[in-house]
């Protein structure tokens, strides 16, 4: 037998590294965390796009192993001691801005999971995927009973997690902060109360005008033809296709799989809904592609929060995408590709049609009603988490709130509650981010118009370069190195203020509906 050679590590490893070397170790762990994050994102993307459905439980098992690896990394004593070390004053001050943000982010991650048993996290991860897949089928027939047991487990596990993590006022704080750092249920209550006070009367006035808008020409069209236009528009707004992909999925989404691999999905069936969805995901994707690539192998290569992320998608989808200047650009393009569908339709008709206010029991309506639905969802999930409502009663609660705020009966009780995936893919606390996004977007766009002369004229000419560059510089570039409150203050000079959104709505819809708002 041959003698085996021994490993003799070089002597430099014999001492515990000090100072910068310690930092290198920390950065290495941060890299590993990000590597796991983006790999999980990829496994999810694949699950939603190309994977054979029969493989779903195997995929859940694969993801579970990575979640466990993530958990092990975050909870390792070594990481805790490194973070402790860099939170000490004399060490902390030597760090760069990025490094400080990283230490803060990781210490929050540690806080988040150190008190939650791994078993609970794993159970939730499994329930999430399974329930999501059931929902994926059941939502077609509004079969709430099919998802109910998964939904119940999701709520109960989330409540347990909130208890393990601890909170001051509401257990919902813990969950909403997964999506919007440092925001509280109390702040949201105030914000949403104000919105309800303002928006519900506006909706009532609009509804009272009785104005009928013709939307017949916003119809289903040939998929392949539409895809060409969608790609053209993505390209126009500045999405770099060599650093990403566009694919098809039932529920459109966008995800970071690498700094040069930003993938968005859409459906390609409806002349305007699909365009709208693509602009929405395009807004997310521009954000993802605009983050400083120096951050790409750290967990800071991510949007600042779900709310800020949503502000970028809603900015492109609604504030720009549903604006009159944008119609000047997109309408001729659509007319060129779909001459039959848009035969005899005028620019004004088109603008009015896409902005029709459809006060409805469903969520995918206009940009005003939208927020009422978010608030309803917020109120329901807050009650579920605070134990004031049972999951089985969620559809009924939804219907009664629709009646209260919007004034009509739902034809099918389950339909509203089944409409969106988040309750069934486990993302409790996500919904407020949608309305926060609208509010941020209005405030940010207000600032952009002040700083960029002729912005709307440029958009009408199909020039999106200026707005993209401005957003890149002001919002996208910093990634997760700033929290939403810092970003809004830096960019607009004040804190989040719902007035900008309310003013925007009043100005726009008083013209469309010819009514004083």
């Amino acid at each position: 037998m041959v003698k085996i050679k021994k490993i003799i590590p070089s002597t430099s490893y014999l001492t515990i590294p000090q100072g910068r070397e310690n930092l290198a170790v920390l950065l290495k762990i941060a890299e590993d965390i990000q590597s796991i994050n983006t790999t999980i994102a990829f496994l999810r993307w694949d699950l939603d796009t190309y994977m054979p459905p029969s493989n779903s439980s195997y995929r859940a098992w694969q993801i579970n192993h990575l979640n466990k690896a993530h958990h092990d990394l975050i909870t390792s004593p070594k990481l805790a001691s490194l973070i402790d070390c860099f939170q000490q004053k004399e060490n902390h001050k030597k760090l760069s801005k990025i490094e400080k943000a990283l230490v803060k982010l990781i210490s929050k991650e540690i806080e988040k999971i150190k008190n939650v048993p791994l078993k609970i996290e794993q159970e939730l991860d499994e329930v999430k995927i399974h329930t999501y897949l059931i929902w994926d089928n059941a939502f077609l027939t509004d079969d709430f009973n099919a998802v109910l047991s998964g939904f119940e487990k999701i709520i109960s596990l989330n409540r347990q997690i909130a208890e393990f993590r601890g909170y001051k006022n509401s257990p919902y704080d813990v969950l909403v902060q997964n999506f919007e750092p440092e925001i509280t249920t109390k702040e949201l209550d105030l914000l949403f109360k104000k919105l309800k006070e303002e928006l519900i009367p506006i909706l009532r006035k609009i509804s009272n005008t009785g104005k009928k808008i013709n939307t017949d020409f916003l119809c289903k069209v040939e998929e392949d033809k539409l895809l060409i236009v969608l790609k053209q528009v993505l390209n126009k707004i500045g999405f770099d296709m060599s650093r990403g992909r566009l694919d098809k999925s039932i529920y459109p989404f966008s995800t970071i799989l690498g700094s040069n691999d930003i993938r968005l999905t859409s459906h390609h069936r409806h002349i305007w809904n699909s365009m709208s969805a693509t602009l929405h995901e395009g807004g997310h994707a521009l954000y993802s592609q605009g983050i400083d690539t120096a951050l790409s192998k750290t967990p800071l290569y991510e949007e600042a929060s779900y709310g800020i992320d949503e502000s970028q998608s809603r900015l492109y989808e609604t504030i720009i995408g549903h604006s009159f200047p944008f119609c000047k650009f997109i309408f001729p393009l659509l007319k060129e590709h779909f001459p039959n569908e848009l035969h005899n339709v005028k620019l004004e008709d088109f603008y009015h049609a896409i902005n029709e206010v459809t006060i409805d029991h469903l969520w995918d309506g206009d940009e005003i009603t939208y927020n009422i639905h978010v608030i309803i969802r917020y109120e329901i999930e807050k009650d579920l988490i605070e134990g004031k409502l049972q999951p089985k009663d969620a559809p009924k609660a939804y219907a009664s709130k629709v009646k209260e705020y919007l004034g009509f009966d739902s034809p099918n009780e389950n339909e509203s509650a089944m409409q969106v995936a988040h309750w069934y893919d486990g993302d409790i606390g996500y919904f407020p981010a949608y309305t926060l996004g609208n509010l941020y977007a209005a405030q940010i766009y207000h600032q952009a118009k002040k700083e960029i002369p002729n912005l709307e004229e440029e958009i009408a000419n199909g020039n999106f370069h200026l707005i993209k560059k401005w957003l890149n510089d002001k919002i996208h570039f910093v990634g997760k190195t700033e929290i939403p409150k810092e970003i809004i203050l830096r960019v607009t000079g004040e804190e989040l203020n719902p007035e900008y959104f309310i003013r925007y709505v009043k100005e726009k819809y008083s013209k469309i509906y010819n009514v004083d708002l």
Partner: protein, 585 residues
Amino acid sequence: MIRVWPLNQHFANSTRNTTSLKAKVKHPLETTQEKVLTKTPNNNHNFIPGVITNIINFVLCIFGLGKNTNKSAELNNTSFEKAQEEFKNTSEELQALETIEGILDWDLQTLMPAANSDYRAWQMSFITRKYYDTLISDTTCSLLDFLLKEENFKRLNKTEQVLLKYIKRQHDNERKVPISLAEEFTEIVAKAHSVWIEAKETNNFNLFAPYLKKIINLHKQMAVCRGYKGSPYNAVLNLYDYGMTTKELDEIFLKLKKELSPIIKKIMTSKVKTDNSFINKKQGEGELSEEELIELSYNLLETIGVDLSRGRFEKSAHPFTNTNGENDIGITSCLKGLWDAISAATHEGGHALYAQGIDTSLSKTLLYECSSLSIDESQSRLYEEIIGKSLSFWKFYFPKLKEKYPKRLEGITLDDFYRAINKVEVLPIRNISDEVTYNLHVIVRYEIEKDLIEGKLEVKDVPKAWNMKMQEHLGITPKNDSEGCLQDIHWATGDVGYFPSYTLGNLYAAQIYNTAKKEMPNLESEIEKGNLILLKEWLREKIHKYGRTETPDEITRRVTGEPLNVDYFINYIKEKYSKIYNIEL
């Protein structure tokens, strides 16, 4: 196992994604660093820096003395059940990481934007590192030793026993190689690929020679670390084909050479001349469109029995098949021309049937894999060559093909087609060679790499040796090194020892098919009727479902009643080609 170098390269036409069979891996520096930073769990020896304890544990473990270390002492006190549970977890983690690496690689080669390749390589290297950290960890080491003790081992069920032995083998293979050596290997291989491309393009062997020399040297050193009996080439061979020996291969290949050379000579003298120019055309010059080739590929895959509800199909630069999950077998094709698409579908379809046929109760273990590279290749070659180029199959499929694409096959008869796809030609390039000459190409490579590893040949003399052997075995001398010793990617990716499995695959295929025909006398008449499910079910029962729980030798003996026997292949060739070339062989 898990590949670390960026994979924009692939074995030209070798087609099987070797991810799960690749044995050489990186042990990144960070592993060592992390170990240093973790305080030793041994409280009685606080004065010993962690790294020294690690070395001690490591050395003790290698020499089977692991039971004296702290961790093993703990293990001894734990129950068998606990160890069994721990083993299940470790094994599942390894398989999860392996399949995750597989799907990352699949995406890299199919849908991922090219701009992301560095990032993807970085993601994959994390998974690889995690895999190897788990595989060679001290904990795994003591766990394996604990369960291998006779009183524990006998309490495991048969699958667990096979799995344990398999993981132990992988563990030893990797753990015995020093990290520094493994890293050096990874590094040189990462660099060698682009050098090889340049050398091939500029026909400059001298450019590639220093890299090949380094790779061979490292293989020799690693062979010493891993240990071997007889030839050091056995050590590299066993990375791909466990249990096969250089001695056996020498005998097999000698016999093949002796039989095949005269056959080729005779065929070359035949008066039958074949035109095969029509089987592949260029896009835009009368070839089927890409959409039509995709449709054809789906149809062929379904015809031979691939379940596409448990798999998917994409386009890639080189065709390959990959296990992305229990119900997720990925198949690709390059979709260049009619015959390229057909042979990719039958070849990859053969791999896919194997992958889909493995008992799903194994899916969360490392045994959810083919028995070996060579048995895997036997299934792909069985469908690509023996079935996919047989008269029985084309009697059924040619009329369908012609009906579907009348213009593409205008004026071509079944006989023309059958002869064209079976044309025998002596070419300098392996991967476009027919099934008669193909194995001699493999033998040339085998003899050269064996001599290199055994130190009987120097790298600088490879071109000379190559040309001589080509002349000797095939009667042809390559024009230059680009179409000679530089043509294949394998050595540049460090895959020395890989080539023999191609020929072994052909030999197993012929022998297995012979048994299939014996056991199902109506097999070929059923194929002529378009029933390929009979064969699929038989292969599944006899071979596929076992996954990696049996070795190639065990499979061959169980299925055919004897060990690997070259005669079946020779007889198959003689019978088939004497008819085609109207000549006595």
